[in-house]
């Protein structure tokens, strides 16, 4: 990360959560995009309507044999040539170029901020591994959970993502964080945990028959509760470890099972690390199954 560039990050983005950054940029894009779209499409349709052929008089000037070639209406047998009128074109082009390039330059500073991993030196770090249509989380003290990510509220957390098999993408939409989980690679990202509650993490890259439903629950806890849970897990750790084995071991005949948590259900804090296994209702395979 190039720290000199961070000098140019406007204060606007400093200290903001990813959610706020995304929201503000998205809203500006949306507003501007809608405006530009409405104006351009409106002008297009207006132009089409205004210049419609209403069977009116012949334009003598434009059909004149000795008029400028660009003004003459096309006729069969003409060698293709242009219709002139470049100035208005350039004006519109220049305006759109300025808008587009300006937007991107503005977001570039946000990009530098996000990529600079700001204030993450002391942050909690969780390693994520996507594998067998499950998300496995490993915390700093070695504790692991499956399909359930626990984090303390109102803190910045660093995620290191990779995969144990194929290309997955881990994302928590409500926390505005997402990163590819590629086998053999570790990608780093961060997010602000915000308020306590339960959120959903999903897989955003097609990874096989269990892709749809490859989800995890993200449980944001009060910091004290989180610390307690973490210590509890590492001391009574064998329980969650065996839960992990049974969860991954069941995936060998993979295509009929997916680990799916019902997002609407409230969690039972005591069942930490437990993976609720649901069976996705399957009708007869239409195209033959996989091996």
């Amino acid at each position: 990360m190039s720290s000199p560039a961070l000098v140019f990050v406007p204060l606007q983005f400093a200290e903001q959560s990813r959610a706020e950054i995304f929201q503000s940029i998205f809203e500006v894009f949306l507003a501007l995009g809608t405006l530009v779209g409405v104006v351009v499409i409106g002008y297009t349709l207006y132009n089409a309507y205004k210049n419609r052929d209403d069977g009116a008089e012949v334009d003598a000037a434009e059909d004149a044999a000795d008029g400028a070639a660009s003004k003459k209406r096309p006729r069969v047998g003409d060698l293709p040539s242009g219709g002139g009128g470049g100035r208005k074109l350039f004006l519109s082009f220049a305006i759109s170029a300025i808008i587009v390039v300006g937007l991107i330059i503005w977001t570039y500073s946000a990009l530098l901020y996000v990529e600079g991993q700001p204030n993450t030196a002391d942050a909690e770090q969780v390693n994520i591994t996507g594998e067998d249509f499950t998300w496995q989380f490993e915390y700093e003290n070695g504790v692991t959970t499956v399909n359930e990510l626990r984090v303390p509220a109102n803190e910045r957390v660093v995620l290191q993502a990779s995969s144990g098999d194929v290309w997955h993408t881990f994302g928590i939409p409500e926390k505005h964080v997402k990163t590819d989980a590629i086998p053999g690679q570790t990608s780093t990202t961060w997010f602000d945990t915000g308020e306590t509650g339960e959120y959903r993490a999903e897989c955003f890259e097609l990874c096989g028959t269990g892709h749809s439903g490859m989800e995890a629950t993200v449980i944001v806890m009060e910091p004290e509760a989180y610390e307690a849970w973490l210590t509890n897990q590492s001391s009574g750790g064998n329980e969650s470890a065996s839960e992990n084995e049974s969860a991954t071991g069941d995936q060998s005949n993979g295509d009929n099972e997916s680990n799916r948590l019902d997002a609407a259900a409230s969690p039972t804090p005591a069942a930490a690390g437990e993976a609720v296994t649901g069976t996705t209702p399957m009708t007869a395979h239409a195209g033959g199954g996989i091996r």
């Binding site: 990360m1 190039s2 995304f22 940029i25 894009f29 995009g33 779209g37 002008y43 297009t44 089409a48 210049n51 419609r52 052929d53 434009e62 096309p74 069969v76 047998g77 003409d78 060698l79 242009g82 219709g83 009128g85 074109l89 519109s92 082009f93 587009v100 390039v101 977001t107 990009l111 996000v114 249509f133 098999d165 290309w167 993408t169 994302g171 505005h176 997402k178 590819d180 053999g184 690679q185 999903e202 955003f204 890259e205 097609l206 096989g208 028959t209 892709h211 749809s212 439903g213 993979g254 295509d255 799916r260 996705t280 399957m282 009708t283 395979h285 239409a286 195209g287 199954g289 996989i290």
Partner: protein, 835 residues
């Protein structure tokens, strides 16, 4: 005047006609009809998963079937529908627009079509072989391969072997079809333009096709390399794409997207060309800023190869390269802004008639504006972090790509009267447009609202259900609108009003100056723009038939006394060919023969997995396919097929380069990219592996060195062959060709000896990554040597019968190919033996 000579071509009502035709208009119709079939197939797949998406959860499709449906939908729509549909029009219209009587290589044109059709049959067949490929049209690694011993883990998400491999093989055959077609169009447009039509004066549709084929030449070569690597991993068992290997996911992503990004412009450019034509014809105004539009399109074509990593913003590529790609991505949107505004301003002072073709083109413009704006969102990396893998991406690319479809549908209505001589029903056309436009937006706009849905899932947050339901309804409306079109076109074809030469006032390109449908030879004589306007010149008789707007030209219009003498310094007369030496041929069965052979050959290959044959039943088609391909190719080569070139044509910048030679140069340019990608893959892998830790497979450099000398000598003998041919010495010619073959066999023999030694000590392609890279790259080169041998043997056979004496061009072409093969080896030798 015998313009409707059959030239051994059966009448249109006979089936045989369509099996043997090489005429560009027939081939164009074949492409259009076949691609519409694939539109329906891809559309049905989409409707199936839209039904599944009616509410969260699986309903009519299992997870595996769902993944197959989304995968094959993408593959079929992008490859087997969009480009072939566009090229149906390109085939029909481009020769007419540039003043050519056919493509440069008519039999190869037919071959392209048959390879396309058969590759499409293979992809549909793959459903019945244990399930088609189900890893998405992007075929990400390592989901796209099986890993037998590599990781040892149990991986339940693999694509079924035979059907999955078949899908990939089908795509590979399709790429061969495209490559053949690309070379054909490049030579045609660069060498076949009418006198007075410089590149700058090409009509907009022909310009769009020219740039499309330039992009295709290089992009599809990269895809071919990627598919060769993928097939090698699946069929032979190499480990290029193994998960934690040095290649893996990122290697695939780079090669695939290097192809994948130009590909989206490849599918869009022809649509853009149609839009430009429709805007001019129906606004009655020449294109505003035409010169800048052409420059903008050229810029896009080049720049399209420099943005591919915007598909990889969330991978582990570094920030600097991400930033560069962000800049180039935003940059590439700007030329499109210019093109959009050009069309808008062309409407000013127009006399716009809202015919069906224009409605579709105008509609396409509006949809493209929406799609383009939403693309800018994706270019801002911080937003892309959110949008990655969601329906925002799906909605964006459907808006832009299906905007392209919209324009091409407009093209279908636009050129339907020309192709059939009948007018379609205008009211039904407008009805189609209304249903289409409503259905389109009902289908794709809700996807922006439901953008948080991950791609390729059927589980989603229940709150998004209403949007998905709207989209499903929209899908059916959109699909249903096509029923109106099929009914309209079918009915009109049978009993529509006769359309004249030019039903569109202000349509100006040459196809509107000739009858509907055009006669087999398109026109008598030769098209010329030498005096600034269209005229049909009869070089022999010195009589000229001038074209007045819309008047028939075949039965003598106003005779304008014009000498048939090249007026511009750029017009290049071809001394050997005139149009009246011999009637041109329009029929050959051998393209179909080669197509059938390759169909069975590729089908047979699907039964191999990791170096083993898993379905012995497939050996028969494999053998039959090989035999039919070789036999048909032999007959193809032996056949005497006359495809004359115009005596006078614009050929800049390839003046003085003969047609066949230009074709070989384009082919070699494409092959350079294939090897470039393979060597690039080697570099990528070796750097990730650790350059110094790599060990070279051949234990000794000496055999490689000997082989290098052998090949260099064989290049010398090929040059000798050319010299002897020129001098008319049959013995010298045959002797040097035989020497070349013997040297080639020596090369292969030494290689076989090397490889057998490796196999004997258990060093196989699947033994490790170094072995994988060595065997595949040198194997690919060896395959080129084998192909060269086959051609050389054929040439020896012909030369012994007296061919090539005095006309050394075929020998020269073979020489070019052979020198290329040599040069590749000279690069591979140090890479795999010395470094």
């Amino acid at each position: 005047m015998s313009m409707d000579h059959e030239h051994h071509l059966p009448p249109m009502s006979s089936v045989r006609r369509w099996l043997v035709t090489t005429n560009h208009k027939d081939v164009g119709i074949l492409y259009i009809v076949t691609s519409l079939f694939f539109l329906v197939a891809g559309g049905i797949l989409a409707l199936l998963f839209r039904i599944q998406l009616w509410s969260p959860g699986a309903s009519i499709l299992s997870a595996s079937a769902y993944n197959q449906a989304v995968t094959v939908h993408g593959l079929v729509m992008v490859f087997w529908f969009l480009s072939p549909f566009a090229f149906g029009f390109a085939n029909y219209v481009v020769p007419l627009q540039i003043g050519a009587k056919d493509l440069a290589f008519p039999r190869l044109n037919a071959l392209s079509y048959w390879l396309y059709l058969f590759s499409g049959l293979l992809v549909l067949a793959s459903f019945f072989q244990g399930g088609a490929f189900q890893g998405g049209w992007t075929m990400y690694a390592p989901l796209n391969v099986e890993m037998a011993e590599a990781t040892g883990g149990q991986l339940p998400m693999f694509t079924p072997s035979v059907g999955g491999t078949m899908t990939i093989l089908a795509l590979t055959l399709f790429v061969i079809s495209v490559t053949v077609g690309t070379i054909n169009f490049l030579v045609t447009i660069h060498r076949g333009r009418a006198e007075g039509m410089g590149l700058w004066q090409l009509p907009m549709f022909s310009w769009s096709i020219l740039l499309t084929v330039w992009m295709m030449l290089f992009a599809f070569a990269a895809l071919l390399a990627a598919l060769v690597v993928l097939l090698s991993d699946r069929i032979v068992g190499t480990t290029y794409l193994a998960a934690t290997g040095s290649g893996g996911s990122l290697l695939w992503a780079h090669i695939f997207w290097f192809f994948g990004h130009p590909e989206v412009y490849i599918v869009f450019f022809p649509a853009l060309g149609v839009m430009f034509e429709a805007f001019q014809s129906f606004c009655g105004r020449r294109l505003v800023g035409r010169k800048w539009v052409i420059l903008a399109m050229i810029l896009v074509a080049v720049q399209s190869f420099l943005v591919w990593m915007h598909h990889m913003f969330l991978t582990t590529i570094n920030l600097e390269i991400k930033t560069l790609m962000m800049a180039s991505t935003i940059g590439i949107s700007l030329p499109f802004d210019l093109m959009v505004f050009s069309m808008i301003y062309t409407m000013a002072k127009g006399k716009i008639r809202f015919t069906t073709p224009f409605l579709f083109s105008l509609g396409a413009l509006v949809l493209f504006i929406v799609g383009g704006i939403t693309g800018v969102f994706l270019g801002a990396i911080v937003l892309d972090y959110e949008f990655r893998g969601t329906y925002w991406v799906v909605a964006h690319f459907h808006y832009v790509m299906v905007a392209g479809v919209t324009a091409l549908i407009g093209g279908l209505y636009y050129w339907f009267p020309k192709m059939t001589g009948k007018m379609y029903d205008e009211r039904l056309g407008k009805l189609h447009f209304a249903l289409y436009f409503v259905g389109f937006n009902l289908l794709y706009f809700p996807m922006f609202a439901a953008w948080k849905t991950p791609r390729r899932v059927f589980e989603y947050a229940t709150g998004l259900t209403p949007w998905h339901q709207l989209a499903t309804i929209g899908g059916f409306v959109l699909g249903g609108s096509f029923l109106v079109m099929f009914y309209n076109l079918y009915h009109s074809f049978l009993s529509g009003e006769p359309a004249g030469d030019n039903p569109w006032e202000y349509a100006a390109t040459t196809e509107w100056a000739i009858p509907s449908p055009p006669p087999l030879e398109n026109w008598a004589g030769r098209v010329s723009f030498a005096d600034g306007g269209l005229s049909f010149v009869d070089d022999e008789d010195d009589r000229a038939h001038a074209a007045d707007g819309g008047e028939r030209t075949t039965d003598g219009g106003t005779a304008v006394g014009r000498p048939a003498v090249p007026t511009g310094a750029t017009a290049t007369p071809t001394p050997t060919e005139t149009t009246h030496d011999r009637e041109p041929d329009h029929a050959s069965i051998w393209p179909l023969g080669v197509g059938v052979g390759l169909f069975f050959l590729f089908a047979g290959l699907s039964a191999f997995r990791q170096g083993e044959l898993v379905q012995t039943a497939y050996l028969a088609p494999l053998a039959v396919g090989l035999g039919v391909t070789l036999y048909s190719s032999y007959q193809f080569g032996m056949e005497s097929f006359h495809a004359p070139e115009p005596a006078i044509a614009e050929r800049w910048p390839f003046d003085g380069v003969e047609k066949g030679k230009l074709g070989v140069w384009f082919f070699l340019a494409s092959d350079v990219v294939v090897f470039g990608a393979l060597i690039g893959a080697y570099m990528f892998i070796r750097i990730n592996f650790g350059w110094a830790d790599w060990h070279n497979v051949p234990p000794d450099a000496l055999p490689g060195l000997v082989n290098t000398l052998v090949l260099l000598t064989s290049s010398f003998t090929v040059v000798l062959a050319m010299v002897y041919a020129e001098r008319g010495s049959k013995r010298g010619l045959v002797g040097s060709l035989v020497a070349t073959v013997l040297l080639g066999l020596t090369f292969l023999g030494i290689k076989a000896w090397e490889w057998s030694h490796e196999f004997a000590i258990g060093v196989y392609p699947w033994s490790g990554i170094e072995e994988s890279v060595y065997y595949l790259t040198t194997g690919m080169h060896g395959f080129h040597v084998i192909l060269g041998m086959i051609v050389a043997l054929f040439m020896i056979y012909r030369a012994s019968g007296g061919a090539y004496l005095g006309d050394d061009e075929p020998v020269e072409y073979f020489g070019l190919y052979w020198h290329f093969v040599d040069i590749v080896w000279v690069l591979l030798f140090p890479l795999f033996y010395l470094l």
